[in-house]
């Protein structure tokens, strides 16, 4: 039987092919000649991936063999798309990827056993909440499109929600692993405030996020992750239903009372109204126009209409929030479906890790991380395709952005650590080969 690590290495082959072919396609469309620069890009990226592979081989020999190649595939794909938009951005993104790999390795090295996270759960929770609200702080907070999602430290912009999402899942997994017995056995009317308290706190936090960060998308992502965890922990649809209803009620309340959110919703319902279409509705309208231009097969890498004669791009935020629209534009319905499928495969492997995990905390951690990851994909792709109102979260591994790449590689590291713990050969474990 082929070992897990060999399967991982083989899984990296399509990554190398994709990144080389992608860069070549972009270069051809740009200069009508292939320079060996595309091969260099492919080789460097593949080199990084192979390095990560050997690192995993050494430190996490039994971990899931597909998660890393899937993430690398998405990252390679993102790099090609970003390169197509702007060479300089692609160079920076590659640097972010290197930094992300450093964080990945550091997490694996420092966190030999993820159970040790349970000890710091309140610290992690508090730190995450602080992170989430930092964009509202004066001086360092930054507002984009009316939402507070980033902080600025000098030249560096940083999206704390990306890190907070990992922290909050760690806290919730740990908390629910401990209290789930009560929540499962207790009848809903008899559950005391003591048990429900923290859940109310989470709900309250989601509502506060709606008000303070003003971003429907990220609060939906957080609360969705939370409900997923609650469901996995308790198997009780009733609790999830109560939670969902509370979120819906809160969202509806704020939607009619906070102008920023109600604007977002009215834009979502009809972005093509005159005036709106060139103003607040411009982003989503351009997103849909770009997708319409893609058709079944797309225009091909680098062949869509993006740059405007006067500078700038016709598709706003093409490298971050709206990158999925650019993917549909250039690779068509088929290419975009393939990308969604890769995310679904990633989610499948993540949930597989949760299935195989041996204890409650590990199961909840893996399921929660996977759920919040998948939720993020749904929120941004759903926003871009007008399934839900468009909000500003990144497409994991694909969008440009250091915070996103680093945080998602940390998330991947945690999943692999849990997986290593679940799949390791008990005998070898006793041998101390961690």
């Amino acid at each position: 039987m082929v070992s897990a690590r060999l399967r991982e290495l083989l899984g990296l082959l399509p990554v190398g092919l994709l990144v080389t072919a992608g860069f070549t396609a972009v270069l051809i469309s740009r200069t009508e000649e292939v320079s060996n620069l595309s091969l260099t890009y492919g080789a460097v990226f593949l080199g990084l991936c192979v390095f990560a592979h050997f690192f995993i081989r050494a430190r996490l020999p039994d971990a899931d063999p597909y998660l890393f190649p899937l993430a690398a595939l998405l990252a390679a794909f993102g790099l090609v798309m970003i390169y197509r938009i702007d060479e300089e951005l692609a160079r920076q993104q590659a640097q972010w990827f290197v930094l992300g790999l450093a964080f990945f390795c550091a997490t694996v090295i420092l966190l030999r056993d993820h159970h040790s996270l349970e000890r710091y759960r309140y610290t992690i929770a508090a730190a995450s909440i602080v992170l989430l609200f930092m964009p509202r702080l004066p001086l360092i907070g930054a507002q984009t499109n009316g939402a507070y999602l980033a902080i600025k430290l000098g030249p560096v912009q940083f999206q704390p929600a990306e890190f907070a999402k990992v922290g909050i899942i760690v806290f919730l997994a740990s908390y629910l692993a401990e209290t789930r017995d009560v929540l499962v056995r207790g009848r809903v009317p008899r559950l005391s405030l003591k048990h429900f308290g923290p859940l109310l706190v989470v709900w309250g936090a989601a509502m506060l996020m709606l008000v303070f960060i003003r971003d429907l998308g990220s609060s939906l992502m957080f609360f969705g992750g939370f409900l997923a965890l609650l469901y996995v922990a308790t198997s009780r649809i009733s609790l999830v239903a109560v939670g969902a209803a509370m979120f819906a009620a809160g969202a509806a309340f704020f939607a009619s009372n906070v102008s920023h959110i109600s604007d977002r919703i009215s834009i979502w319902l009809d972005p093509f109204r005159p005036k709106v279409v060139d103003d607040e509705g411009y982003q989503i309208a351009q997103s849909l126009f770009a997708q319409a231009d893609g058709g079944l097969f797309g225009t091909g890498f680098g062949r869509s209409l993006l740059e405007l004669p006067g500078g700038g791009t016709i598709l706003p935020a093409a490298d971050t929030d709206l990158i999925y629209a650019l993917i549909v534009n250039e690779l068509g319905l088929f290419g975009a479906t393939a990308v969604v499928l890769v995310y679904l495969l990633f989610a499948a492997r993540g949930f597989k890790v949760a299935l195989l995990a041996r204890d409650g905390f590990s199961k909840l951690l893996a399921a929660g991380l996977t759920a919040v990851f998948a939720m993020q994909v749904f929120v941004i792709v759903g926003g871009v395709t007008r399934v839900i109102p468009l909000t500003g979260v990144t497409l994991p591994f694909v969008s440009y952005g250091g915070s996103s790449i680093v945080a998602n590689l940390v998330l991947l590291a945690l999943l692999l650590i849990v997986s290593q713990d679940a799949r390791r050969d008990p005998e070898r474990a006793h041998g101390g080969l961690a």
Binding site: R30, T31, A228, Y231, V232, A233, S235, F272, V277, D278, A285, L288, F289, A290, Q291, A292, D293, G294, G295, L296, G300, R303, L305, E307, L308, P309, I314, V328, G332, L333, A336, T337, V340, Y343, L344, A347, A348, F351, A354, L355, G360, K363, L364, A367, A371, A374, V377, F378, V381, G382, T385, R386, V387
Partner: protein, 488 residues
């Protein structure tokens, strides 16, 4: 805890399926309506990325070409008009900032290569799209002659081949340099002299006596008159109850119909119009093309119909009260475009058959194949050949010994009719419509000058003479000048 995890995965599979469904909704199912949306600037920008087809005169002169601008990523093509203002109205312009006009608009699908289904399929497969070149019917020598003949005088000239309907020249003064449209559109459109306005197709001028050609054609075709019919040229005849004066109040006595056209006797032609009656006159006008925009391959928003307009500027209905006698001599809120008057001359010159006026000659693929020939199209028979020949004979006499002598050529018989519509004290709208050679007309034209300090015979006929010289390669019979002109 494993069952809920499986459920969760099922839920996300469902959610991701929704994403794929919505992606297909925008990218495929509703793609067309999104592409057609008015707010979508992509199609406009895309069209700039492909080189538009070139526009040529019939003689091969390039009238519209492309200039490549921008760096590799933002490379696009911008229109360039090598002949500057010479063809400004006929060819028009095409700029992303200001849209399109003229042939650039009416033949846009040819010029962008979206005209034929087959072409787009090939282009889709090869990934390269390029527009077809357009060869027009316009003759750059004649166009040049027409513009220099008008000089700085406001007015318009339209020249048509009677047998084919092909437009050989279309001039409107003042004109503009289409190359300057992106920078100075605002100024041009607010200029009081309206240089962007195509007087040839949009101006509504009083036709003056040139309209007597229509009345004469109706009179002969009705069978109630012949060129030698005796009619009374008395001054101060009552037309619709109101006395009508001849030019300078002259009294002519009994004359033939031909004589009445040579001398352009108002009272004769008003009486002929009244005798024919409103319905008959309107029927012949409609056959000549009055009442609707001419069916030329030119943008509809740059075409005006000719006809009788009421005080609110609307075309009158047959049931409205009309002083048809005064209409018959070109008065009474009758307003015409130079194009319409050229069509009148062309129909008479083509034995009474009106050809559809066209500007496009053929569409040529980038590889040189002829993609489409725009063949001459017969619109309708306006009057019988004998009536047309009768009118042609009368018009020939006008040039030989009437008000149109300034248009005579050596060795070539010219048929014509002058027109002078008073616009103020000593200020006229001067007209001349003509075709030649009479035996087998190769060119028909309408010349009009605004604010002329002279009659049609003095101002417009010499211009027509110069154009006929150029078009037919003939020499003028007299040194053109007001002295040779007998009248109006």
């Amino acid at each position: 805890m494993n069952r809920p995890i499986v459920h969760l995965f099922a839920l996300f599979t469902l959610l991701f399926t929704v994403l794929v469904v919505f992606t297909s909704r925008w990218s495929v199912l509703e793609a067309q309506s999104l592409t057609d949306s008015a707010a979508n600037r992509r199609p406009l920008l895309e069209q700039q990325k492909i080189p538009r087809g070139l526009i040529y005169a019939r003689d091969g002169t390039v009238l519209a070409a492309n200039r490549r601008v921008g760096s590799r990523q933002t490379q696009r093509y911008v229109r360039r008009y090598p002949t500057d203002s010479l063809f400004s109205h006929a060819v028009g312009y095409s700029f992303i900032e200001r849209g399109r006009s003229g042939l650039e608009q009416s033949e846009n699908s040819v010029l962008t290569g979206t005209g034929s289904e087959f072409a787009t399929l090939v282009q889709e497969l090869s990934g390269e799209q390029e527009g077809d070149n357009l060869r027009t019917t316009l003759d750059s020598r004649l166009q040049e002659a027409a513009r220099s003949a008008l000089g700085s005088r406001r007015g318009s000239i339209v020249a048509i081949e009677p047998a084919t309907g092909r437009v050989r020249a279309m001039v409107s003064i003042p004109d503009f340099d289409p190359n300057s449209i992106p920078d100075s559109f605002e100024e041009l459109s607010s200029e009081p002299s309206s240089p962007l306005f195509n007087r040839a197709t949009q101006a509504r001028y009083p036709p003056g006596s040139t309209f007597k050609v229509v009345t004469a054609a109706a009179a002969l075709d009705s069978g109630r008159f012949t060129p030698s019919s005796q009619v009374s040229g008395r001054n101060n005849k009552r037309i619709s109850g109101v006395p009508l004066q001849n030019f300078d109040g002259e009294d002519f006595g009994q004359v033939t119909l031909t004589e009445a056209l040579i001398k352009s006797i108002n009272t004769v032609w008003a009486e002929v119009g009244s005798d024919l009656g409103k319905r008959e006159m309107l029927r012949y006008m409609r056959r000549f093309g009055f009442g609707t925009e001419p069916p030329i391959d030119y943008p509809r928003n740059q075409l005006a119909p000719s006809g009788i307009f009421d005080r609110r500027g609307r075309l009158v209905e047959p049931d409205d009260a009309i002083d048809i006698g005064r209409v018959a001599i070109g008065q009474e809120r009758l307003q015409v475009t130079p194009l319409q008057m050229a069509m009148v001359a062309a129909a008479i010159g083509n034995d009474g058959e009106l050809m559809q006026p066209t500007l496009a000659h053929r569409a040529i693929a980038p590889d040189g194949r002829v993609r489409q020939r725009f063949r001459p199209d017969r619109l309708r028979r306006v009057v019988s050949p004998s009536a047309a020949r009768g009118v042609a004979g009368m018009m020939t006499s006008v040039v030989e010994r009437g008000s149109g002598t300034a248009a005579q050529l050596q060795g070539v018989r010219v048929a014509g009719k002058t027109g002078t519509a008073e616009r103020g004290a000593g200020i006229n709208q001067a007209w001349f419509i003509a075709f030649a050679p009479v035996e087998r007309p190769r060119i028909a034209l309408a010349v009009t000058v605004e604010q002329a300090e002279g009659t049609g015979g003095e101002v417009a006929a010499p211009i027509a003479q110069r154009l006929l010289e150029v078009a037919l390669g003939a020499r003028g019979a007299t040194s053109s000048g007001p002295a040779a002109a007998g009248g109006f």
